[in-house]
Every structure is written in C-alpha cells, then in structure tokens.
Symmetry: C2
Subunit: 411 residues, 2 copies
Amino acid sequence: MTIETTKDAELRARATKVVPGGMYGHMNGANLPPAYPQYFARGEGPRVWDVDGNEYIDLMCSYGPIVLGHRHASVEAAVAAQRAEGDCFTGPSARLVELAELLVDVLPAADWAMFCKNGTDATTLCLTIARAATGRRTVLAATGSYHGAAPWCTPNPAGTTPEDRANLRYFEYNDLASAEQAAREAGDDLAAIIVTPFRHDAGHDQELVDPAFALGLRDICDRTAAALVLDDVRCGFRLDIGGSWEPIGVRPDLAAWSKAIANGYALAAVTGTDALREAATHIFTTGSFWFSSVSMAAAIATVTRLREIDGPAVMERAGRRLRHGLATQAASHGLRVNQTGPVQLPFLSFGDDPEREKANTWTTECVRGGVILHPWHNWFLSTAHTDDDIDAALAVTDAAFGVVRARFGAA
Amino acid sequence: MTIETTKDAELRARATKVVPGGMYGHMNGANLPPAYPQYFARGEGPRVWDVDGNEYIDLMCSYGPIVLGHRHASVEAAVAAQRAEGDCFTGPSARLVELAELLVDVLPAADWAMFCKNGTDATTLCLTIARAATGRRTVLAATGSYHGAAPWCTPNPAGTTPEDRANLRYFEYNDLASAEQAAREAGDDLAAIIVTPFRHDAGHDQELVDPAFALGLRDICDRTAAALVLDDVRCGFRLDIGGSWEPIGVRPDLAAWSKAIANGYALAAVTGTDALREAATHIFTTGSFWFSSVSMAAAIATVTRLREIDGPAVMERAGRRLRHGLATQAASHGLRVNQTGPVQLPFLSFGDDPEREKANTWTTECVRGGVILHPWHNWFLSTAHTDDDIDAALAVTDAAFGVVRARFGAA
C-alpha cells in the first residue's frame, strides 16, 4: 500500500532549516521508520489524519494525553465555555480550586494538589517537596526509568553535569534487595524514592510491578521517614481512577500527574498527603501559565468523565480485545511475540529481533495500512476505541504480521 | 471605596483545604495586600473582572503573557480554527514549522527555534545547549536575577541542594568588572553567561542595561567561546520585536522566550544561532505538550500582529503617558516616587518606604479604585491599553496618591 507523503516531506525539508536536526524530543520522526508521518493535521475520536490527508486509527494517543479520544465533546464544551471567559489572568480562576477538590475526592492518597505544565515539572516538584520536608538530599530511582527530560533525569545526559545527578542513587525495578541496598547507602540522607507504577522504559518490554516490591518500597519510606513518590505521569487515569497503585493497595506520599489529566490540554499536577503539606507550602515554584483556566476546565471535564464511565475499565476492555487479537494473529502466522505491560498501555515486541527489524517492518506495515503504533515505545488506548476500531486495527496488524512472516520466516 | 469580595473569600477558604498554603507561586495573593483579589473570572482587552464581578483596568497583564489584550480577536480566531482541527497529536502540526520560520524571520539573532512550555524550560534548555556545545559546566548569572523556578534558579532554595547550583557563579548586574572577575574564576570552564535584558528583580527598583555592560558580556563570550544567553522571557516582544537587545546592537547566541509570545497561551521557545545548532540537535529534551498546535497558532497570530502594528511602539506610547501622568500626580501631592525600567514594563516605588507601607497603601487604593498593579513587582502594558484606558487608570492613581499623602505626609 502506498500513501501520499508530499506535504509531510515538504514540511520536513522546511524544518531542517529552522529546527535543530529537523525536530527534537520524543516526537522526532527521525527516530521512527521512514513510513511514519512526522506532521499531523487533524484528530477526531480514535482517529488522526496526517498533513497529507492519510487517516489512521490512533493507538498512540499523542503518547498518552488523549484519553477520551481526540476532541471529546464534553472536554471541548468545557474548554469553549472557559475560553469565552478567559484563560490566563493575574491569578487563578475558580477552576483551580474546583480541580484540586476533584482530585482530592478522586484520589484516595491525595489531601492537596498543585498544578504545573509538564510531567517533568511535577516529578521535579515532588523531589523538591520531599527534600524540603526531610531536610535530606538523596533520592532513589530505578535504573533506566523515565521521569522526565530535565537535567537530573533526561535519558541522554548531553549538556548536563555530574552535579545534576549527584544526589541520585539507583536500584533495579522490581528488585527490592537493590532498593534496600541503595537505601542503606543513602543512610540518614534518604529524602525520597521515586518510582513508576510499572516498568515502562522505552526500548524494553514492559514489566508489571511486583506488589511485594511496591510494598517493600513503602516500607523503606515508612522506616526512614522518606517520601514515596509515584510517577503516574504516563499511566495516570488509565489503570485506576484512584491512582495506579490503588489496586495493589500501596499509597504514595506524593504523586506526579500529567499526560491524560486534561485529554490533551497542557497540564500537570502534584498531589500529596497532609504530612507533606507544610513542605509544599514553603518551597517556591511557579510558571507563567500554571494558573491558566482552560486546561483546568479541560481536566475537570476529563477526570469527571473518566470517573462516570469507569474509563480504565473501558480501556481495559479494548486493550484485552487488542491483545487477544494480536496474540491469535501472531500465532497463526507462526510468529513469537511478547505483549507486555497493562493492556491499556499495550506493547508488542518480536522474539529474536535484536535490531528491531521485525518490529520496524511490522509497524511500518501497520502505518501504511492506517494504524499508528510504535516499534519501541509503549502505545496508549483511549475510551474512544470501540470494538469496531480495535477490529479495524486488527485487520491491518494481521496483514502486517503476514509481511513479517514472509520477510523473516517463522518465530 | 468598598468592593464585594464574598466569592473570593469563599474560594480562598476552600483552597486552604486542598492547595498547600492556599496558593503557591507568583500568583499567591497572600503575598499582596488584603484588598487584592485572588481569583479572576473574565478578561477582555485591557480589563479583567474578579470572581465577585469587580472590574479592573489590568496593568499586570497576567504578569506578562497578555500583550495584545485579553481575548484578542486575531489570536482567538487563530485558536478557534486550530481547535477545530485538533491540538495535541502524535507529532507536531505544520504550525510548528510556520512558527519557527516566523521567529527566524522576526528575530535577527535567530537561525532556529525549539518550543517548550515554561520560561524555566527555555532558560534551562539554553544552559543545556551551551554546555553541550562547549563541553564546559560553569554558567555566570547576575545575583538576584530571576531565571525561573527550577532548583538551579528558584529564588527560594527550600528543597533544593547545593549541587543544583554548584556550576553557577554570580556577578552584579551592570557591573562589568564583576562579570570579568567571575569569568576569570571560571577559567577554561565557562559555558555560558545568562542575563536579562534589563534588571527587573522583584522587590527592587528596575535598572536599564548599560550598553557597555552588554557589549562587555558579548566580548567575554566571544573571547572565551562561551554562549551569551539572553533571558527574554519577561521582556520579549514588548521592548523590540527583534529582541530586547536589538536597540543596543548586542545579539545573543541563545535566547529564551515565553510569556508574551502567544498572548496568554502556554508556550515558550529557545532560539539560537547556527553555531549552536549542532549542540541543540544532540541534547534530549521534550514534554508531553511541547508539540501542541493551539498555542503555536496563537503565537503565530500574536507575533504577526505585534509586527504589523509595531506593538512595542504602541506599548511605549501608553507607557510614556502613564509614566508622565504618575510623575505629575506624585509631584502635585508632594510625594517622591521612583519610576524605573522601560515604560512598557512600568514600576513605581516610593521614597523613604523601607517597609513598603506607602506602596501597599497606594496599590491597595488603586485596586479598590479598579486598577490592578503591583507593590513590588514590575507591571506590564499591552497594545490594548488606549489613551482613554491610561487616563482612566490615572484618575484612580491620583486619588490613591492623595490617600498616601494624607496618611504618610509629603516626600
């Protein structure tokens, strides 16, 4: 199948002149097989269109933010109403209080909320609050976990300094002994442990959390009076409306939120417990747009809707259908695949594929067939993905498995 | 004059339960005299309304973002058109390329642009690029200059660590000898000098840049192959459409932009020269909403409009009228005042006012009279402020000076 790419190519050529490397960050199409579109023009529900008019079933959801589907009616209505009043004033609007109240109501671990713009703002703020509360410096994080793109956490350290990470120590995800060891090494300087709800490092198969590991981290923090920080930026509101570790009964002291919180509108949040409230009061952090109302109105509409319809369950249903379909297809083609992580954040890799040639071939064929997913980063579902959408995607993935089988053989 | 504050008080009471300290950051009303509203409901042109319906002439412009007036027609039209297509996709839209091209066209020092969300993102990114380019660590900054609220630069270090600032050295603004000394101390490790276009530290009178100082910083960077970073987050697009140091002929290697770039929509940018392009390509930074299209559409409309009407000149005219009026009024009341900084970012302090009692009294009376300005942070004008708006504000400020004179006497 050939797809039109004229406008995309033209924009890429123009961008090489005015954007370093043509594009930057996680949306840099140069990191993906050539068939991927770089530029998009429109989104509606579970579908997106690139600048050349090609239509796709969107299994990336903008790398997470789109959780109710593109341009969801209830969110857009809330946004339109807020825009008619204004967005960015010399102070917040009532939306800030309403949203903080909603989060405190929805999230069992939250006694308060603060708002910012980036997931990185939220994770950084959690560490700052934990350090202010404890008077300590050391933070433990899992090797390879993505907690944002600030100098202390960006996965590519170019342009950062050793001092940016001087107060971090690392453990292995799901290896409690390694976390205990890192905590011992931190001694009486342990301010916080920051951890993702499951292991979702890009470029690797995903790994669900071992509940004993989560409980063990909680125990370390309880013993040392350090703060347990759950980085729910990527998973938040997809796995459990009350927080991603609610199902295993482990509550963080601080949690970082962003991505899905406002169905694509720029917002992030930190929530915390009463024990951290005083510290959160005495740090100074702010941003020019952190008090703006439109994204808060969008968040109120998004979280309210997700709660009403049990959004995580809706996505789980779609995710199970997709996972089952992919497993059946791969088996029928004699291909060994690994599907890992929670079904709401799907990921598939191929056996015996060290250079990702199979993954690149398969995802290229999916894109050409009209399904956007990713060869080395987890995907995301939304509540807009119906059974029909999943089935339409599966028709494309089946043909793509056929190409992989033809090119690389079985297994 | 008494103003209704019922709803504001109710929201403040609710916020104390769900927001640490009731509010955080630069929009925390607890840092202002009690008459100030904390919560706003609506904005239109040069005016805002608080949640109790009180109307104000807005001389703060949301601490800078509102540069064409609230809800400017051309910006809102561009935003509505973009919203109909979508905002946040699995990649940028054509708006990103169009906006980068526009900035490269408008800003003589810019060969490329990257986009982010916070002014702090932009200043931090400038340092990262400079360090990647030079392979050095040390950055020079002026004592007390505000470059954002990340751990390396927040004015209140609670919750930060000494290591966050281990690679910074400080000089005094407009004191070239102190900058030369700091550069000597950095030796062969000088990566960058970051500096604001003029001295606009909160809590102090403003101070215009000495052109010889700016030229001297440029010379240090040229001699040492360090990057000169102009932090134009607060002033950008108000003083000169080509960059705030264009009038004095000093061009930075990297510049940070935010606030006014999109008339209130959440956006920040880094621009740089060809010499830094390669380094900017090889760092990794990103954000969930850094590629979103609505704020970029807003920025295109904002910058285009500011260029069409020579926005800085429009604001300069309003600023001169305001400054002249305030000076005349203060003199007629026998009050000594200091008006400092560029007229587009006005600021007024009182003589012999170490506890800011006069400033607090005067700004309180201004707020009660329907004018929002600030006792210890610079104000901001927009192109929406007409002569009539300035004259209406001056009627209020005159009465407020009368109260100061009656309470504190002359001088």
